[in-house]
């Protein structure tokens, strides 16, 4: 990996991806190698055996007329020996002291059937035990020797080995001894090789039902249907019994015989479908061995079927396992999901066991214990775990989807609300604008014209100047109201722009200069919540400040400062300051001007206007010195109140 990474260019995504893929593949293969090693280690462990002193291994074998000495375990080269089976004759010693205990003959492993005779009396015929007749089951046999048959000293034991294929005959070492010493070993083998497979078969039956239901409910996922069929075939295989001889039901044997290739074909199909392969017409190739075997069973003899089994079924199982291993590895690398990983590991276990079984069939192992069928349970566990994992993930997805849906619905609702509010706001603004236009026309045609006439007439008459001033003030106020009703988009600066013009027009006859200073470039912050009534209050407040400076302060210069202040709370606030260089006045402790009643009322008005808008008003005045004059400082709220409930 390192030498690969050195010359890999990281800016090439293809290279990078390949590198990542290789690294993943290596990791996966390492894991599988580890599993294979663990399997081999486990298989090399021999099962506990009874005490060695009771083991009988020296026998004389009579086979097709000839007789010779053999030592168990013995691999026969015969594939079929029913009428003239090989006969093993041996001896064992039963000490006199053991007469009180029951003695048994324990045969841990043989293929295919045995008949055990002690001192000329047949005590065991394994062919009557259906489970023992299955060479793939590793069934052990034990038989108690009747006390009457045994005698102290040497006793004869002879074993006939019946062989009916498809594999050659085999007889493991046998034990003859006290039943209590042999039976634990027998029980353990029965538990592992007979009971456990039944338990797994039940599990397989449950899986078949679950998968069948899943397929019925989700027809678009045929993988589950295929796997359900595989499981069903497996269950049938496990519980069907091998009939001996040509019985009326012996034709059923074909189901048993062809089940292994058919089941492996189904599992292979499942693995292919599961990894994203689309069913093709040539997919039927997978089932050819199984179908051929079934046809042979239906129309041929049992011997032929058994011979065919070796050439069709066993390679088919191995080939299926190999393909599944490759397919799951690819699927694992591509999709990186837990189900593929589990399946891949299970297939590796099965493949290892299959190879070991094959070696033992070819007598390359010291014993003949078949584990492939047993290791199939690993696959079943993997399938069960994979299904559960998928189910849990699907549930999580449903949960996630539901919560996402809830969020989306909430978002949509909020958007709708917002757009509704916006729409309402727009409609309100449009209505306001229409109303303003209508009002403006009315005022223009009526009140406005009359006020202008009053101004004009007052200038002609003598001593009627106050009337003209009043009419002018009325016109000014009229303009203020109309101006405030305009939609300024929350930008108070736009209202102040018009106010500046009006203030300048007001100050010009008095020769008072208006100094306009926007300290911060943008002036004041924009307030989307700004309403016309806020604007009117603020502008009137500023008018009041200017009017006070004109009427009472005898000022020469008025300075208006506009700025945005960053508050201590991090929120920006607009601030408008009106300053004059006039005479100033004393401010009483209660904030009111100590001087003229009229001025006091003006100040009270200003305070009340500021409070309605949620603004802070700060008044300071100085009668002498360089700071002489009055300063009105209005700090705007960060957010203008919706209603003037703060009026006071």
């Amino acid at each position: 990996m390192n030498d690969h990474g050195d010359d890999a260019q990281p800016d090439l995504p293809g290279r990078e991806r390949r590198r990542l893929q290789t690294s993943r593949l290596v990791q996966y293969l390492l894991l599988q190698a580890l599993i294979v090693a663990a399997c081999i280690f486990a298989l090399r462990q021999s099962l506990p055996e009874p005490p060695g002193e009771y083991q009988v291994t020296a026998f004389r074998l009579s086979e097709s007329g000839a007789e010779r000495a053999v030592t168990l375990p013995y691999f026969s080269s015969l594939r079929h020996a029913m009428n003239d089976p090989p006969r093993f004759a041996g001896q064992f010693i039963r000490p006199a002291s053991e007469a009180a205990r029951a003695w048994s003959v324990f045969l841990p492993r043989f293929t295919n059937g045995v008949e055990v005779t002690v001192n000329g009396v047949v005590i065991l015929d394994s062919r009557r035990d259906p489970a023992a007749n299955r060479p793939d089951r590793n069934t052990a046999q034990i038989a108690v020797i009747p006390a009457s048959v045994l005698h102290d000293g040497a006793n004869d034991v002879s074993i006939k080995l019946f062989i009916w294929g498809p594999i050659t005959g085999f007889l493991d070492r046998i034990w003859v001894g006290p039943d209590e010493l042999l039976r634990p070993s027998y029980n353990l083998r029965t538990l592992i090789f007979v009971t456990l497979p039944v338990v797994f078969s039940s599990w397989q039956a449950i899986l078949a039902v679950i998968l069948g239901i899943m397929w019925v409910m989700r027809r678009h996922e045929p993988a589950y249907g295929v796997l359900a069929a595989a499981m069903a075939v497996g269950v049938g295989q496990a519980f069907l019994q091998t009939p001996m001889g040509e019985t009326p039901f012996s034709r059923l044997n074909v189901i048993l015989i062809s089940s292994a290739p058919i089941e492996s074909g189904l599992v292979l199909t499942f693995a292919l479908l599961f990894s994203g392969w689309k069913w093709q017409r040539y997919g039927w190739i997978i089932f050819i061995p199984g179908v051929l075997l079934a046809l042979a069973g239906l129309f041929g003899s049992q011997a032929m079927v058994r011979a065919l089994f070796l050439y069709l079924a066993v390679p088919m199982v191995g080939l299926s396992l190999l393909i599944i291993a490759v397919v799951t590895a690819r699927s694992m690398l591509k999709r990186r999901n837990v189900a593929s990983l589990l399946l891949g590991c299970a297939v590796t276990i099965m493949l290892t066991c299959w190879v070991v079984d094959l070696l033992s069939v070819f007598q390359m192992m010291p014993n003949r214990i078949f584990t492939a069928r047993l290791s199939y349970s690993a696959m079943l566990v993997a399938i069960g775990a994979g299904l559960t994992w998928r189910f849990a993930r699907a549930l999580n997805e449903v949960d996630g989807f539901a919560s996402r849906l809830v969020t989306q619905v909430r978002e949509a609702e909020e958007k709708l609300k917002a757009s509704f509010a916006r729409e309402e706001e727009r409609a309100r603004a449009a209505a306001l604008a229409r109303e303003r236009t209508r009002l403006m026309r009315d005022l223009h045609d009526g009140l406005g014209g009359q006020l202008v006439s009053i101004v004009a007439l007052s200038e002609r008459g003598n001593g009627s100047a106050p009337i003209g001033d009043a009419a002018r003030a009325a016109l000014k106020d009229l303009r203020l109201v109309i101006d405030s009703m305009d939609d300024i988009g929350g930008d108070l600066m736009l209202a102040l722009g018009s106010w500046r013009e009006r203030a300048m027009a007001q100050l010009r006859p008095h020769d008072i200069a208006l100094d306009w200073r926007a300290v911060t470039p943008q002036g004041l912050p924009v307030h989307p919540e700004l309403r016309p009534w806020h604007v009117i209050q603020i502008v009137r407040l500023l008018d009041e400040a200017v009017t006070n400076a004109v009427k009472h302060a005898n000022a020469r210069r008025i300075t208006v400062r506009i700025e945005t202040l960053a508050g201590a709370d991090g929120l920006d606030r607009g601030c408008i300051t009106v300053e004059d260089d006039g005479t100033g006045f004393e401010i009483a402790p209660d904030g009111a001007a100590a001087g003229a009643i009229k001025a006091a009322r003006g100040l009270r008005n200003m305070r009340s206007r500021a409070a309605r808008c949620g603004a802070e008003l700060e008044l300071s005045s100085c009668a002498q010195g360089t700071d002489q004059g009055t300063r009105v400082r209005l700090t705007l709220p960060h957010r203008f109140p919706d209603s003037d409930g703060a009026a006071g």
Partner: protein, 225 residues
């Protein structure tokens, strides 16, 4: 809007003043006459046309609501016949409803009817000097029209498509109450170029119909009938 200090008296500058309200007409006439302008006053559209028939005035000040017609027609006619004449609307409220419609036919700004006599004289003097006054509320109206809104705000139609971003920036400055000097320094302009931009804004807001274009071509001798 920014009156200059008292300058030299304008000699022989003719102003046609059209206003139907007699007291208002008198006070405006007084203010202008005292400032040295030669004023021809009219109370109706017909009288105004008669005044204009005597020759091109330097300035036309007109009310919009006239007893026998609308001031907008008078502005359009004057603009076509005497392109050199500066035209201003006399308004009661300075509301955009009337002022904008006057601008689109060629008026330059407005004069409030209750303006002080000194302001009246100063405004006309600035106008004659080539300055085009624009009020904050009118600037505001124009710039709000340049913003993209789903539906046009109510009020008179206004085509702002020809305005440049710089001109729009200037209008924003005026709408927010900044002086020409402040605007010029914000935008990195020379203070003297701002009035030129404003004049250009006025011209761009003028509506030139096909008929007007033909009329102008005839006036300039480009087309012979």
């Amino acid at each position: 809007m920014n009156p200059l200090s008292d300058g030299p008296k304008a000699e022989a500058i003719t102003v046609v003043l059209v206003e139907d309200d007699a007291p208002t007409l008198w006070r405006l006439q007084d203010a202008l006459a005292k400032a040295g302008y030669q004023v021809r006053a009219a109370g109706t559209l017909t009288e105004a046309r008669a005044c204009l028939a005597q020759g091109a005035p330097k300035v036309l000040l007109t009310d919009l609501q006239l007893p026998d017609g609308h001031g907008v027609d008078l502005i359009r006619e004057t603009r076509q016949r005497f392109p050199e004449t500066e035209i201003m609307v006399i308004s009661i409220l300075g509301d955009e409803e009337s002022v904008i419609s006057a601008i689109t036919v060629g008026a330059t700004g407005y004069l409030l009817k209750d303006a002080f006599p000194t302001d009246i004289a100063a405004t006309v003097r600035d106008l004659v000097a080539g300055h085009s006054p624009i009020s904050a509320s009118i600037a505001r109206f124009i710039v709000r029209r340049t913003q993209n809104t789903p539906e046009p705000p109510p009020g008179p139609a206004l085509n702002t498509a020809k305005l440049t971003p710089r001109e729009i920036d200037i209008l924003w400055g005026i709408a927010k109450g900044f002086s020409y000097a402040e605007i010029a320094s914000h935008l990195g302009l020379s203070r003297q170029t701002v009035p030129g931009h404003i004049k250009s804004i006025y011209r761009k807001l003028e509506v030139h119909t096909r008929g007007e274009a033909v009329f102008e071509a005839v006036q300039q001798g480009l087309i012979k009938l």
